[in-house]
């Protein structure tokens, strides 16, 4: 365990940004936090969470997959990727850290998604234990401990000091790299901090949220619940929840004709969008009810069915804050509770 004074945070960032990119949560023009490439003097946001999750470091909103050049009847296929640089994401919260293992189960499952894999390999995740959880937090319901995040290295922030601890090889390398600005620290203040947060956790309004009614084995009874109609009734069909979600990973593949060739790219897609499953001759999910149901069934039933019971939600609470009509996974879970019993 190492530490540094919060007054010297800039030195830590400077050292971390040496020879690669460093991303930290910083406030944007609208006063909200987002991961931003650090430059000298940039301050870390005081906000608990960034608006968008950290998934875009490994699964960006749009990315070029393959380029084509066409000439007459011939096609040339070009892999547009160049060697990507190593980067560090600093200040990832426990919920987002957990989301990476969920995304891994999708993208690193056979056949491996090489675009994702390459980014995962190049990225070092430095997490930050939570000290001020909010009312929208319910990560504990999904087994996340906000005081002990996963990650390559973990940071804990007290009133005036930052403690850092390497957890993996990459984390050790990171700590080595910044060691010059660190001093040895002992675990006591960290433990005290953890204990304080653990006091707050049970007081959170959503502390008692239960996942007992959900899981891969509850498929048909949940699917057929009549409650979906009222739950989905006011859904606008926008993609806000999907796009701020750390675990939503649906994507679309599209071609763009540049005038000089074709760029095939993938971009985030949302199962909430009306055209998500639209085909030339029909659409299996015609109404918003079906699309709404798909999103929550996926997180609470289908994903656990395929992944040894692990849920596709980490309880970050972003969708609670951001949904234009305040419909969210918590309301869905509370409403459906008991449906499967």
């Amino acid at each position: 365990m190492f530490k540094l004074s919060l007054n010297n945070l800039n030195d830590l960032f400077k050292a971390a940004a040496e020879g690669g990119a460093l991303y930290i949560p910083a406030d944007d023009g609208a006063g909200q936090a987002r991961f931003t490439r650090w430059c000298d003097g940039m301050e870390m946001s005081k906000a608990l969470k960034t608006v968008k999750s950290a998934k875009e470091f490994f699964f960006p909103q749009t990315e070029s997959l393959v380029d084509f050049k066409m000439k007459g009847k011939e096609i040339e296929i070009i892999d547009p990727r160049t060697e990507s640089e190593d980067f560090v994401v600093f200040g990832v919260r426990a919920c987002d850290a957990r989301s990476f293992s969920i995304l891994d189960k999708v993208f690193l499952a056979d056949p491996v998604d090489t675009y994702y894999k390459s980014r995962r390999e190049h990225g070092t995740i430095v997490t930050m234990a939570c000290s001020r959880p909010e009312e929208t937090c319910f990560c504990t319901a999904f087994g996340v401990d906000p005081t002990a995040p996963e990650g390559d290295a973990v940071c804990y922030m007290t009133e005036d000091e930052l403690f850092i601890e390497a957890k993996t090889e990459k984390g050790t390398a990171f700590v080595e790299k910044v060691k010059a600005v660190l001093t040895d620290g002992d675990a006591a203040p960290v433990e005290a901090q953890k204990a304080a947060v653990k006091e707050i956790l049970p007081k959170l309004p959503l502390a008692n949220l239960s996942t007992d009614s959900f899981g891969g084995d509850k498929l048909m009874e949940l699917f057929d619940s009549p409650k979906w109609a009222e739950l989905s009734a006011s859904c606008l069909g926008c993609g806000t929840c999907t796009f701020v979600c750390p675990t939503c990973q649906c994507y679309d593949i599209r071609d763009f004709e540049t005038g000089h060739g074709v760029k095939r790219f993938r971009c985030w897609d949302s199962c909430m969008f009306s055209d998500f499953t639209k085909m030339a001759h029909g659409n299996p999910r015609l109404t918003q009810l079906e699309r709404f149901r798909q999103r929550f069934m996926h997180k609470l039933v289908y994903f656990p069915a395929n992944n040894d019971g692990e849920f596709g939600c980490v309880g970050c609470g972003r969708c609670l804050s951001k949904c234009p009509i305040s419909m969210n996974i918590v309301k869905v879970m509370k409403t459906l509770e008991g449906e499967s019993k």
Partner: protein, 275 residues
């Protein structure tokens, strides 16, 4: 080199055959003149013309064909219209194979097989049928019930008449929806014809066709005494990635592109009816 799933390979169209007024069969090989990849019957491939679109098509040729792959494609959307307009020598992109394929080496082995197809639904079955014809000893009797709107809409009509019907141990029953001049065969819809033919209950059934045909044929089969565990079908949903990641083609927790497209009906009946 890692096998890239989202970066396609090049294929060249070496032959185009007009099967029916709106179905063409395309022969595709790699730029080296060899097959682009090996597959098992029932698997699919993503074909694309960059800038036009990419879509999943079942491979209609049998894996036992060592020279090329074939795709029978019906003209219905933007990409297929483009494909129909192209000339021999056109390059296309191809990636795959995708999906589970038919259990030709397990569940089908040694069985009497009944194939039921409607319209373009014959395309995915053709791969299995020809595979079985090439490995005839491994399988029992084969019956094929195939129907289409009209005589002209029967895909692979020539191959059916010249080859399949000529084979020993293969019984082919053709039907068309409405009377037509020059047609002496059966007239009527597939589900009714299946009931009329009253096939042996020991047969393993493989079915493909439009949803309405599947629905009524399955009902008919059940009436005859067939069990859901005996009946296989192959599905089609909107797909983008082909590798179970883009999140589109799931029926419940199953992804058609990865866990399918071949399903047994008892599997499907445990999944939501969202297809």
């Amino acid at each position: 080199m890692i096998d890239e799933t989202l970066i396609p390979k090049l294929g060249v169209v070496t032959d185009i055959r007009q099967d029916t007024p709106d179905v063409k069969t395309f022969r595709v090989v790699g730029t080296d003149g060899k097959k682009v990849f090996e597959h098992i019957p029932g698997q699919c491939a993503m074909l694309s013309i960059p800038g036009v679109g990419e879509a999943m098509f079942s491979i209609t040729s049998s894996p036992t064909n060592t020279e090329f792959m074939e795709f029978s494609i019906k003209k219905c959307g933007c990409l297929t219209t483009w494909l129909h307009a192209m000339d021999v020598g056109q390059q296309i992109t191809i990636r795959g194979p995708y999906g589970n394929g038919f259990p030709v080496e397990s569940a089908f082995k040694g069985k009497d097989l009944l194939f039921i197809a409607g319209g373009i639904g014959l395309a995915p079955l053709r791969s299995v049928i020809n595979y079985i014809r090439d490995k005839r000893d491994n399988y029992g009797k084969v019956q094929i019930i195939y129907g289409s709107r009209s005589m002209d809409d029967l895909v692979d009509y020539k191959e059916i008449i010249d080859e399949w019907m000529a084979d020993d141990g293969i019984e082919v029953n053709l039907t068309i929806d409405r009377e037509q001049e020059g047609w002496n065969g059966h007239v009527g819809f597939v589900p009714n014809y299946v009931k009329e033919l009253n096939p042996d209950l020991g047969k393993t059934v493989v079915m493909c066709g439009p949803p309405i045909m599947i629905k009524f044929t399955l009902g008919g089969l059940k009436e005859l005494g067939f069990k859901e565990t005996q009946v296989f079908t192959t599905m089609e949903l909107r797909m983008k990635c082909g590798v179970g990641k883009c999140g589109r083609c799931n029926i419940g927790s199953k992804y058609v592109c990865k866990d399918g497209p071949v399903f047994r009906f008892d599997q499907l009946s445990q999944l939501p009816n969202e297809y």
